[in-house]
């Protein structure tokens, strides 16, 4: 059976006029009439993405300023030249996808899950290429401290990003939460790269990068819980 033949069968309803009682349409019109006021549309996507990048920069710079730019000072020029542009690119990408997730009918270039995977893989490649210290001193104690520091900075970045886009509407809140968490996690990684002087490969690959999936998972969990409560709340109030 050819695709054209399947098309022909599937397009039958399109050719059939669909009847809907005019009073239903009138009723819908009446229901919105009283609250019809001019509204200000959302700004262009790039403006919102720029806002998110600024939020990310502010959080990570403030965090590093408070804790010290020890990591940045210890890095050689090549490391600075590769790590920070890569992080800015990933933050722009995550911010842009976060914006798309908050606007219905936006074209997604990458899903939130793929964004998370791509972000982690890109960071793995960059860090594995640059760092050559294969010792594993204080792997857990130093690592958990970095993970927590990164996560503590990821939370305000995600929350502020969410506040910046609060006029948007997430048609898939879990996906939006995942994108918000990924975005915040990257802010946490920037802070760690500016601050952490521990350049051991295992430490950076495991604990610094782990901030991103941890934050993304937290974002998705918060969004899921909120959606669950809203839907359940709707049921309870019936």
């Amino acid at each position: 059976m050819k695709d054209q033949e399947i098309d022909g069968v599937l397009k039958m309803p399109e050719r059939t006029p669909h009847h809907l009682a005019p009073q239903i349409l009138r009723r819908i019109g009446d229901s919105i009439k009283t609250s019809l006021r001019p509204v200000r549309p959302l700004p262009p996507g790039w403006v919102m993405t720029c806002g998110l990048v600024l939020v990310c920069a502010a959080i990570s710079l403030m965090g590093a300023a408070r804790a010290g730019f020890i990591g940045f000072e210890k890095m050689d020029p090549l490391e600075r030249l590769l790590i920070f542009p890569a992080l800015i690119f990933l933050i722009w990408m995550a911010g842009s996808e976060f914006v798309h997730a908050m606007i219905p009918g936006s074209l997604r270039r990458i899903s939130s899950g793929a964004l998370l995977g791509f972000g982690c893989a890109a960071l793995l490649i960059v860090f594995a290429f640059l760092f050559r210290d294969y010792r594993i001193d204080h792997f857990f104690s130093a690592g958990i401290a970095c993970l927590l520091t990164g996560f503590v900075h990821a939370i305000p970045a995600s929350v502020l990003g969410w506040l910046l886009l609060r006029r948007g509407f997430a048609v898939n809140s879990v996906s939006a939460g995942l994108a918000a968490g990924t975005f915040g996690g990257l802010a946490g990684v920037v802070m760690l790269e500016l601050h952490c002087p521990n350049f051991q490969v295992a430490h950076v690959l495991v604990w610094h990068i782990a901030v991103v999936p941890l934050s993304a998972a937290a974002g998705a969990l918060v969004a899921w819980t909120r959606r669950f409560c809203e839907t359940d709340g709707g049921f309870s109030s019936e």
């Binding site: 059976m1 695709d3 033949e5 399947i6 098309d7 022909g8 069968v9 599937l10 397009k11 039958m12 309803p13 399109e14 059939t16 669909h18 009847h19 809907l20 239903i24 349409l25 009723r27 819908i28 019109g29 229901s31 919105i32 009439k33 609250s35 019809l36 006021r37 001019p38 509204v39 200000r40 549309p41 959302l42 262009p44 996507g45 997730a101 908050m102 606007i103 219905p104 009918g105 936006s106 074209l107 997604r108 270039r109 990458i110 899903s111 006029r167 948007g168 509407f169 048609v171 898939n172 996906s175 839907t231 359940d232 709707g234 049921f235």
Partner: protein, 188 residues
Amino acid sequence: MHPDSNLEILMVRYQQGDYAAAADLIERTGPQLHRFFLAQSQSRADAEDLLQETWLRIHRVRHTYRPGEPALPWFYAIARHVRVDHYRKSIWTAAGKQQLEAMTKEVAALPREFDHSDGLDMLLAPLSESQREVIEMMKVAGMSLEEVARATSSTVGSVKQKVHRAYKKLRVTMSAAGYRTEQSEELS
């Protein structure tokens, strides 16, 4: 010119508070969205409720439409969200998912009370929910791949894959149901 470009102009006027534009939009998208809901709901009344709920939601978030962007996927994205929300509530209210699945299967198998009894629902029954949704948007609503991707918040590649898989299943189902013969007879 895009066939739905009028929708975009109407949306901008709707955002400016023009009631005539809002009424025109309701009249133009209402039947399409109603058909979208009918395809997977139990009754006409259910579909009408969903349509009204969708329009209330559209009204509340009308500022999220950005001038210059295609309007139809924006409508469908919100309609889809309302439908998903509705089914999620149904799952929790109707004593678990299993019951709902059984109900959906029953509904798909039984002749509907509404008017587009053209066998399409029976035909699409073997498809997964996401495949059925994509096929409905593309073939029934006449949306392009990109528009469907926008409406379902997914990528064009993912939509292509769903369509490909759906066609594969449909080819088997339709061949088994003898559609080929009917088509050939019609042609001859």
